[in-house]
């Protein structure tokens, strides 16, 4: 299969195939943490970082341990061993472990960075955008470089969506919205309009 180039994967993951506006991943934290731009930027940066790093790490582990034709377990045993069904548990363990590790390192290295990012890090383990990006990268059979591009693009796309949503929501606070539509209802509809705008990018590149 002919694979798109590094840059195309990156741009497509941000705009045309935005992980939130097209695949609906990471909605929970998107709804909860998009009230202020400042916090949205903080969470966005954390997601970009974790998403890029875990997609690289998960790619290495998936093709090194689980995929029957390339894994070192198959080579050591002398026969092909298909462990792909373990991908879910491996991915979520890597994400949880990595988040924990980053949290510890950041706490040691930089106090100010920890104060800025610290509270968001535990939230990321349950952010389905990260696990979703890892699963998509396996389904689409990307090689290592493209997987990193896809992880980075997905993170950036998610950050773009949440930061723009937070900016809109800061304005919405002063507008007169029917009570049952307040908060979540209107956020859903605004997100729908944003998704419509992003469909406009569809002709640009395709995955």
């Amino acid at each position: 299969m002919d694979q798109p180039s590094f840059w195309i994967v990156l741009v497509a993951a941000i705009f045309t195939n935005n992980i939130l506006l097209r695949y609906f991943l990471g909605m929970c934290s998107f709804l909860a943490v998009s009230k202020r731009v400042e916090t949205a930027v903080g969470l966005g940066i954390a997601v970009v970082f974790v998403c890029t790093a875990t997609s690289a790490l998960n790619w290495l582990l998936y093709y090194g341990l689980l995929n029957p034709s390339t894994s070192i377990i198959s080579k050591a045993m002398g026969q092909e061993l298909d462990l792909r069904f373990l991908q879910f548990i491996l991915f979520i363990a890597v994400i949880a472990g990595f988040v924990q590790l980053v949290e510890m390192i950041v706490e040691r290295v930089s106090e100010s960075l920890y104060m800025a990012l610290g509270i968001y890090l535990p939230l990321i383990t349950v952010n389905c955008a990260i696990l979703g990006a890892c699963l998509f990268m396996v389904i689409r059979e990307y090689d290592f470089l493209r997987s990193v591009a896809y992880g980075l693009g997905s993170g950036l796309g998610w950050m773009l969506a949440i930061v723009s949503m937070a900016s809109i929501r800061e304005r919405l606070r002063f507008s007169n919205i029917p009570k049952p539509l307040k908060e979540v209802g209107i956020v859903m509809i605004v997100t729908g309009i944003m998704a419509m705008a992003f469909i406009g990018f569809a002709g640009m590149v395709s995955l």
């Binding site: 929970c28 049952p180 729908g192």
Partner: protein
């Protein structure tokens, strides 16, 4: 959830079932996981292009929530508090893998169509939330019923969204099953196999199948749900 966690007086099975039934109804209506607690929104938007997909996904979530609730509840005294999250994730992942493998074996096309969303049940907050909020404090039988109830609440939302989107987006209902109903503007044709053809006065809009349609439908359904129950303070 009022946890009657003290097992001192050994409640009977009957009491267990009564309590579980209460939790179940709360999960379906009063405390609906998607509308009231805003959990599991991701998949509620993603797999609702077709009613069939929504139903399969719901079955998966009911299965995983109920079974992981039972297992977590059975082990609740053996799990130390500090590692409970990891223990829950492992239990949930186990049942998700089980369902994923079964789906791949018996209905490969559906597994293809749902793509990564079956795997993403692991990070579906409903499953984790119920294990954390209910199963850790309660006995297995109420936990089972609570899991089924929350799964059914999720199902109700998913099917409602899917019916709206499939009807307005592609003009069909239950497409892909023998029970398919086709709604068509203008005259009827007999090309597509279906149970019933009903003429409708509008043309289906592609946008409802795409992402914006999902957001709009969800927003409007939340609006209606909250307007009907105004006592619920947001």
């Amino acid at each position: 959830m009022n946890g009657q966690g003290s097992d001192k007086e050994k409640p009977t099975l009957k009491e267990d079932i009564r309590m579980g039934r209460k939790a179940m109804w709360a999960g379906i209506v009063m405390d609906n996981p998607v509308f009231c607690q805003l959990l599991g929104v991701c998949s509620a938007l993603a797999v609702t292009g077709k009613v069939v997909n929504a139903v399969v996904m719901s079955v998966a979530v009911i299965f995983v929530t109920a079974m992981s609730n039972v297992l977590v509840s059975t082990m609740r005294k053996a799990i130390p508090r500090s590692v409970r999250m990891i223990a829950e994730v492992v239990v949930i992942a186990f049942f998700v893998i089980l369902f994923d493998q079964l789906l791949k074996a018996f209905w490969f096309d559906m597994s293809r169509e749902l793509g990564p969303y079956v795997g993403l049940i692991i990070t579906n907050c409903i499953v984790m939330g119920r294990a954390e909020a209910f199963a850790l404090q309660n006995r297995p039988v109420p936990s089972l019923l609570d899991g089924i109830g929350n799964g059914l609440g999720y199902t109700a939302v998913l099917v409602a969204v899917a019916v709206v989107r499939e009807l307005t987006g592609s003009g069909t209902l239950l497409a892909g099953t023998p029970l398919a109903i086709v709604f068509k503007a203008g005259q009827l044709s007999s090309e597509t196999p279906c149970l019933l053809q009903i003429p409708i006065p509008f043309e289906p809009s592609q946008m409802m199948i795409l992402a914006p349609g999902a957001f709009f439908t969800m927003g409007i359904l939340i609006f209606i749900f909250r307007a009907i129950r105004p006592e619920e303070e947001i």
